[in-house]
C-alpha cells in the first residue's frame, strides 16, 4: 500500500489577525494509506470539518503542508482544481447543493466540470447511480420530488461520478432515520470494497464508525488525540469518554463489567464480537468450576 494523503504540521487559524482569531487546527500531522477506510470523530468544534476541507483545497493552511498523492496542493503552479476531482468531498446535508432539473443532470455536474465527453459522462451517471441504488426512473425525476434520503444519495452519487481517489464524507447519515442511515453507510462501504478507493468518514456515531471503518482518527481541541486501528481506539474507551465523546453501547457495557471487577477485554465494539467474548468468558468460567 502507498500513502495517498500526507499532512505535515498543519495549522489553521480562522479570522487571522482579528481579535476573535481561533486556532481550528494546531500542528496536525498524519498520513492515510491508499485503500483505508478512516473514521474521523471528535466533538463539534474539535476541528474535524476544518481538517477535511484542506484535502481538496477549500481551506488554505495557515502553516504546514497538505500532500495528496505526493503533490502539495498549494505549491507554486499547482492546479488546485485538479485536487477537487482527486479528493471528492461530500459536505454535510449535501442535498442542499442540488440544483438541476433532473437527478441525472445533477450527477453530471462534476464530470462535466472535468471536461469529460458525453458518452463517458453518461456511463459515470449510470455507474454512480447503481452504487447508491437509484433507479433509471428516479434519475429522470427532479431531485426536489424525492425523499430526504434519496436526495442525499443523489448528492453523494454526484461526487462518486467524479471518480475521486479519495472520498471524504462529512456526516453523510445526519438527520436520517435508522433505515436511511444504514442504507447510505452500507452503500458507501460497498463502494469502498468494490473500487478500493480511500474513504474518510466524519461521524458523531461511534456505532457507525465501529461498524464501517478500519482506522479511527480522534480529534480533540484542534489536535489529533488518537489515530489507530478501530480495536486499539475502542480499547481506550475510558479515555474517549474523558474527551467528551460517546462510545458504542456495547463498549459501555464491557467497560462497566470491567469496573465491576470482571477480567474481560475492553476493546469490544461490535455485537458479534461481544457475543463471542461472552461465550469465551462463560466457557472459561465453566472450565474453572469443573477443575
Amino acid at each position: 500500500m502507498s500513502e495517498i494523503i500526507r499532512v505535515e504540521n498543519l495549522s489553521y487559524i480562522y479570522n487571522l489577525g482579528m481579535p476573535d482569531a481561533t486556532k481550528a487546527l494546531d500542528d496536525v500531522s498524519f498520513t492515510v494509506e491508499e485503500g483505508d477506510f478512516v473514521g474521523i470523530i471528535g466533538s463539534t468544534g474539535s476541528g474535524k470539518s476544518t481538517l477535511i476541507s484542506h484535502f481538496n483545497g477549500l481551506n488554505r493552511p495557515t502553516s504546514g503542508r497538505v500532500l495528496v498523492d505526493g503533490k502539495d496542493l498549494w505549491e507554486q503552479g499547482a492546479d488546485l482544481r485538479s485536487f477537487r476531482f482527486l479528493v471528492g468531498l461530500v459536505m454535510q446535508y449535501p442535498e442542499y447543493q442540488l440544483f438541476e432539473e433532473t437527478c441525472a443532470k445533477d450527477i453530471a455536474y462534476g464530470p462535466r466540470n472535468m471536461g469529460l465527453d458525453e458518452a463517458e459522462i453518461q456511463r459515470r451517471i449510470k455507474e454512480a447511480a447503481a452504487f447508491v441504488g437509484l433507479s433509471d426512473e428516479l434519475l429522470e425525476k427532479s431531485p426536489f420530488e424525492l425523499s430526504g434520503g434519496q436526495k442525499r444519495r443523489v448528492a453523494i452519487a454526484g461526487v462518486m461520478a467524479m471518480h475521486p481517489r479519495v472520498l471524504v464524507l462529512d456526516e453523510p447519515a445526519a438527520g436520517l432515520d435508522p433505515e436511511g442511515r444504514d442504507t447510505i453507510l452500507s452503500q458507501i462501504k460497498d463502494y469502498h470494497k468494490k473500487t478500493g478507493i480511500t474513504v474518510l468518514l466524519v461521524s458523531h456515531s461511534m456505532e457507525d464508525i465501529a461498524k464501517y471503518a478500519n482506522r479511527v482518527l480522534v480529534m480533540h481541541r484542534a489536535k489529533i488525540a488518537m489515530y489507530d486501528t478501530v480495536e486499539n481506539v475502542f480499547a481506550r474507551a475510558q479515555e474517549l469518554l474523558e474527551l467528551g465523546l460517546s462510545v458504542p453501547q456495547v463498549t459501555q457495557i464491557f467497560l462497566k463489567l470491567r469496573q465491576m471487577g470482571l477480567d474481560i477485554p475492553a476493546d469490544v465494539y461490535t455485537i458479534p464480537y461481544a457475543v463471542k467474548t461472552i461465550q469465551k468468558a462463560l466457557a472459561a468460567k465453566q472450565a474453572g468450576e469443573v477443575q
Binding site: 481538496n56 459536505m91 442542499y96 447543493q97 440544483f99 455536474y109 461526487v159 467524479m162
Partner: protein, 272 residues
C-alpha cells in the same frame, strides 16, 4: 469574503448616545441631513463637522470607524466631485484650460464643499447605526410610524419583516458559503472565466439558495403560527420605548445645535 458584508454595523457601548431613545436618534439624524442641505455654506459645514466630531467623541467611537464607514463611498465622492469640477462654470477666467474643459474657481469650491457634505452625511448616519442596534432601530421605526397604522399602512408587518430579515442575514450568508464550497468541491469555477461564464456559474449557487430560503420561510411561518402569531393586533412588547428626562436634555442640545447651523445660511452666502 461574504462575511465582510455588514449592514448597519453596531458598535456596542454605554455612552449617553448609546442609551438615548432610538426615536430621538432617528429623528435627529434626519434633521441633521436636512440641515446639511439647507446650510450649504462653509461655516455651516464646519459647524456640522464640529458637532459630529463632538458626538463621536461622546459615543467613544474610534476615529478609524469613521474612515471605515467612508471607504465604500470614496469612488462616488470622487466621481461627483470631478464632475462638478469640470462642469461648474464661473464668471471669471478659468483656472485651467485644457482641450474643451475649463476649470473655474467656483468649480473647485463647489467640488470640495460637495465632497465634504457627502462625507459628513455618511459619517452622521453611520453614527446612528454604530450607537443603535438594528433591532432597536426597528422598534424606533415601528413606533414612529405607528400613527400611519390608522391609515391602514402595514406598520407592524413592515417592522416584523425587518426583524426577520436582520435575523436571517447571517444565516443566509453562512448558507451561501456552504453551497459555494459544495459546488467548488464538484469543480465549479466561480472566480475565473468570461462574464457570461461567471453568470452561468452562479446558477448552481442561486437555485439551492432560493430553495433553501423558501423552505426556511415555510418552516418559520409554521413555527410562528405555533407560537400564536396573528399579526400586530393585541400584541404587547417586552421592551417599551421610554422617553426619559435624559433624552429630553439630549433633544434640547441637539435641537439648539441644528438650529444654529441652519441659521448660518442667513449670514454666510451659500453656493447652492
Amino acid at each position: 469574503m461574504l462575511k465582510d458584508i455588514t449592514i448597519g454595523q453596531h458598535f456596542p457601548g454605554h455612552s449617553v448616545l448609546h442609551r438615548c431613545d432610538p426615536r430621538l436618534k432617528l429623528v435627529a439624524t434626519i434633521a441633521y441631513i436636512v440641515v446639511l442641505f439647507v446650510a450649504p455654506n462653509p461655516l455651516g459645514l464646519a459647524l456640522s463637522i464640529a458637532l459630529l466630531a463632538a458626538l463621536y467623541k461622546i459615543a467613544q467611537i474610534p476615529g478609524k470607524m469613521i474612515l471605515k464607514s467612508l471607504k465604500p463611498i470614496v469612488p462616488i465622492v470622487i466621481f461627483t466631485a470631478v464632475l462638478n469640477l469640470f462642469f461648474v462654470t464661473g464668471q471669471g477666467e478659468p483656472l485651467v484650460h485644457f482641450w474643451v474643459l475649463n476649470i473655474y474657481i467656483e468649480g473647485v469650491k463647489y467640488a470640495i464643499l460637495l465632497a465634504v457634505r457627502v462625507c459628513a452625511l455618511i459619517a452622521g448616519t453611520s453614527l446612528l447605526t454604530y450607537t443603535t442596534s438594528p433591532i432597536v432601530l426597528t422598534d424606533a421605526i415601528e413606533s414612529l410610524l405607528r400613527p400611519l397604522a390608522k391609515l391602514h399602512f402595514p406598520v407592524h408587518e413592515l417592522a416584523m419583516m425587518m426583524t426577520i430579515a436582520l435575523r436571517f442575514i447571517p444565516t443566509l450568508i453562512e448558507e451561501t458559503e456552504k453551497i459555494m464550497n459544495a459546488q467548488k468541491a464538484r469543480g465549479a469555477m466561480l472566480d475565473s472565466g468570461t462574464f457570461t461564464q461567471r453568470i452561468k456559474a452562479l446558477v448552481p449557487i442561486l437555485i439551492p439558495l432560493f430553495i433553501s430560503a423558501f423552505r426556511r420561510a415555510d418552516e418559520l411561518a409554521m413555527a410562528m403560527e405555533c407560537r400564536c402569531y396573528h399579526g400586530g393586533e393585541g400584541r404587547t412588547r417586552l421592551k417599551q420605548l421610554k422617553f426619559t428626562s435624559e433624552d429630553f436634555r439630549c433633544l434640547v442640545v441637539i435641537a439648539v445645535a441644528l438650529v444654529v447651523i441652519a441659521c448660518t445660511r442667513l449670514f454666510v452666502p451659500g453656493l447652492a
